[in-house]
């Protein structure tokens, strides 16, 4: 079975203006480097506080951003005019391109090490079933994020970089981004249930 046919070639009937923006905000790379360095330092030190801090901050950010994108910003974005939608997209999506992979990597890497430190990832842990359930939920979210969400994020920015971006392609990719954000947002609720259970025992 092949992917849906892709329309190419002729210029789009309703071509949007080309906005000026950086696909990858270079200044933001400094923040990414700082966060990743902090994660490496926390894993190397294997101290409870920095691991818990990075895991909690990253996890809370990941959850809130997914829920906000999927259920607040997504419906609003769909009702905006095309120029307003493009302007918001060119300002929002480059930041998301750096923010989300960084937040997810920090959450998962610090969370794994925190689990090793506390013993909650070990099969002898009395709530091991809940821990494995969290692996499964996070695994599904990761597949959705890596296979659908992140490629859509990059593709919409590359489309907007073209001299004449195709609004139909942008709309299709943004829908994919928003829907998958909403889906992972719903799954985040399951993560919150599991994490609450693991926290109180």
């Amino acid at each position: 079975m092949a992917d849906a046919a892709v329309a190419l070639g002729a210029p789009p009937a309703e071509a949007a203006e080309r906005p000026s923006f950086e696909v990858v905000p270079r200044k933001g790379l400094i923040g990414v480097a700082v966060v990743l360095a902090a994660v490496i330092a926390a894993i190397a030190a294997n101290k409870l506080w920095p691991l818990a801090f990075l895991h909690f901050v990253g996890g809370a950010s990941w959850t809130i951003i997914d829920l906000f994108m999927g259920f607040m910003l997504g419906p609003i974005l769909g009702k905006l005019s095309i120029p307003a939608r493009i302007e918001l997209t060119t300002k929002l999506m480059p930041k998301m391109l750096l923010l989300m992979p960084t937040v997810v990597t920090a959450t998962l890497a610090a969370g794994w090490q925190l689990g090793v430190h506390l013993g909650t990832v070990q099969s002898s842990y009395y709530h091991h079933g809940w821990t494995v359930a969290s692996f499964i939920v996070v695994g599904i979210m990761a597949i959705i994020a890596l296979g659908l969400l992140e490629p859509a994020n990059v593709a919409v920015l590359m489309e907007l970089k073209k001299p004449k971006p195709n609004p139909a392609v942008i709309e299709r990719l943004m829908k994919r981004f928003i829907y998958t954000s909403g889906l992972t947002g719903l799954m985040q609720v399951a993560t919150l249930v599991i994490m609450a259970k693991l926290t109180v025992g």
Binding site: D3, A5, G147
Partner: protein, 132 residues
């Protein structure tokens, strides 16, 4: 307006990622006990086969915007190699060794190659060859 059919690269890529995630969960769920490696190896081999099949199918697409694909995929490869390295560092820090380390390391290789492939494909499918 011309139309073209493309192989299901995204679907196969997600299936491949699903297999290595399943293998990783299987191994992680047994820690620190001895883990029978066969299920994880089978999952990894199937995932790697899907990656190879995906790359082969993509290489046979005529008129594909390879310039755009590589322009994006090489930077994505760098980014995902860094994240894979970070995860590998955590495994080594926790003194993981032997078969589980080999399986998880190879799983990270599949991850670090397949995700950039998906990103490059998603960008290039909406591009015209040579448009820059």
């Amino acid at each position: 307006m011309d139309e073209r059919r493309l192989p299901p690269v995204t679907e196969i890529g997600m299936a491949s990622l699903g297999l290595i995630v399943a293998g990783g969960i299987y191994l992680a769920a047994h820690l620190p006990q001895h883990v029978p490696l066969a299920p994880a190896v089978v999952l990894l081999a199937a995932s790697a086969a899907l990656l190879a099949g995906n790359l082969l199918a993509l290489s046979r697409v005529g008129g594909f915007a390879w310039d755009r694909f590589f322009a994006v995929a090489r930077w994505a490869l760098l980014a995902y190699t860094i994240t894979a390295g970070l995860i590998e560092f955590a495994f080594l820090r926790d003194h993981m060794s032997g078969g589980p380390l080999v399986v998880l390391t190879l799983s990270l290789v599949v991850y670090a190659v397949h995700v950039p492939t998906l990103i490059g494909f998603t960008v290039a499918r909406y591009a015209v060859p040579g448009e820059g």
